[in-house]
Symmetry: C2
Subunit: 248 residues, 2 copies
């Protein structure tokens, strides 16, 4: 083929375990349409299949409805630690952009929050949409794992699941004098997940802040400027990814 294995020219397609039987991949109608009609691949042409759980394979289109696995592709594009983002849902379609950006930046789990100041109850359709965006962004950013997008819940409910017993937890605050997230990140215990909570427009309510601090969430700052609800999660993820992947 003349192309390196993970050449950017090779299309990446996420498949489910149910689609794969040994070296045989059953393509679904959406994948068939995309590979054959949009990309105009023919039998014998290659693409990359990923199962969203860590593995990539070089695959070859066999016929109009299936593909064959040729070989496993070694790939290491995941962060060394699991990052869970508790994110207050912004109005409108802002959550689409958040899911796309934090997926590119390496998040493992996205927990949409119904915060006291934003009570957007997303439809099942919306949740489905965010999961599709997470899958697309995984393919495009060449990640191995598709982030989980959980059902929405309140900050209080999220804290019951993610707290200092199992993770290092940080609460991002837009105002007040708090240490900077970059300086606070604990990198000493590489197995411990990192939990980050970013608030809604207008900020967390005092009740929410108290609740998080009582559960040992560390209040942190993302700098002197006031970030939108879309930018704060991206900045927080960028800092964690950089801290885990650089020596600086």
């Amino acid at each position: 083929m003349g192309q390196p294995l993970n050449s950017p020219q090779l299309q990446r397609i996420a498949i489910t375990p149910a689609q794969q039987h040994d070296r045989h991949i059953d393509l679904n109608s959406q994948q068939i349409h995309y590979l054959s009609r949009v990309l105009r691949l023919k039998p014998g042409d290659r693409f990359i299949a990923l199962n969203g759980q860590g593995q990539w394979w070089l695959a070859e289109l066999a016929d109009d409805t299936s593909a064959t696995v040729l070989e496993s592709i070694p790939i290491h594009t995941e962060l060394s630690r699991s990052v869970i983002l508790l994110v207050a849902m912004p109005k409108g379609n802002g959550m689409d952009d958040i899911v796309r950006q934090v997926t590119e930046l390496g998040v493992a789990t996205i927990v949409p929050l119904l915060s006291d100041r934003t009570l957007l109850h997303p439809s099942p359709h919306k949740l489905e949409r965010w999961r599709r965006i997470a899958q697309e962004a995984t393919e495009q950013s060449e990640r191995q794992l598709i982030p989980t997008v959980t059902e929405p819940r309140s900050l209080g409910q999220a804290i019951e699941t993610w707290n200092s017993e199992t993770a290092h937890c940080y609460l991002c605050l837009a105002r007040g004098s708090h240490p900077h997230l970059l300086g606070c990140l604990q990198t000493a215990q590489p197995q411990t997940p990192i939990v980050l909570a970013t608030g809604p427009e207008g900020g967390w309510t005092p009740t929410e802040v108290d609740q998080a601090i009582a559960a040992s969430y560390q209040p942190v700052s993302l700098g002197k400027r006031v970030l939108r609800t879309l930018t704060a999660p991206a900045m927080a993820l960028a800092l964690i990814a950089a801290r885990l992947e650089s020596d600086g």
Copy 2:
């Protein structure tokens, strides 16, 4: 008033030097509409006027067309170093999002690049739009300075202006093995501006990379995942801002 001086409840409005005569501010028709019709402020109500060049004032609506400066507001929300972003313009309206996000994150100058792989020649209307977005994001993020959005140019032309003689320059590369930007950032000379170049979809051409390296741009990585043209500038700015504002 019972409100702290830089209360989030007080609206921030950018004014030009020509609008201000001592303590008197002539409001333009857009500002009058916004303050009187949208926010429904009445004479005697207060807002924050900023000149985009570093200063904030507490101001009071005097009548339907003017306001009075009451006092200067001390504010320090700017990065300690000037950050210049050379950014290859993405297709569509992607540049809108980039300008908004990097303004929130503290950029000083945005230089739209006509790169070899994307030759989007923006209309004067587009440039005007980006400048308006930079102003709005400055008001919303509570910055002191409105970033400059320059005329578009090629990477070669940008390098003639911004190079190692006057700045620390970094070229962000999506592929290949390069040191991470976070570990490379030189913080030793606080007066030296930082120049960052982020590429188009498909990456820089080899010619562009050679050109930048010849001008002492340091090739850097933003991590193991492939970031969209919209996410790379945000991540780069987030890292610089965090490095300058944290002890970590």
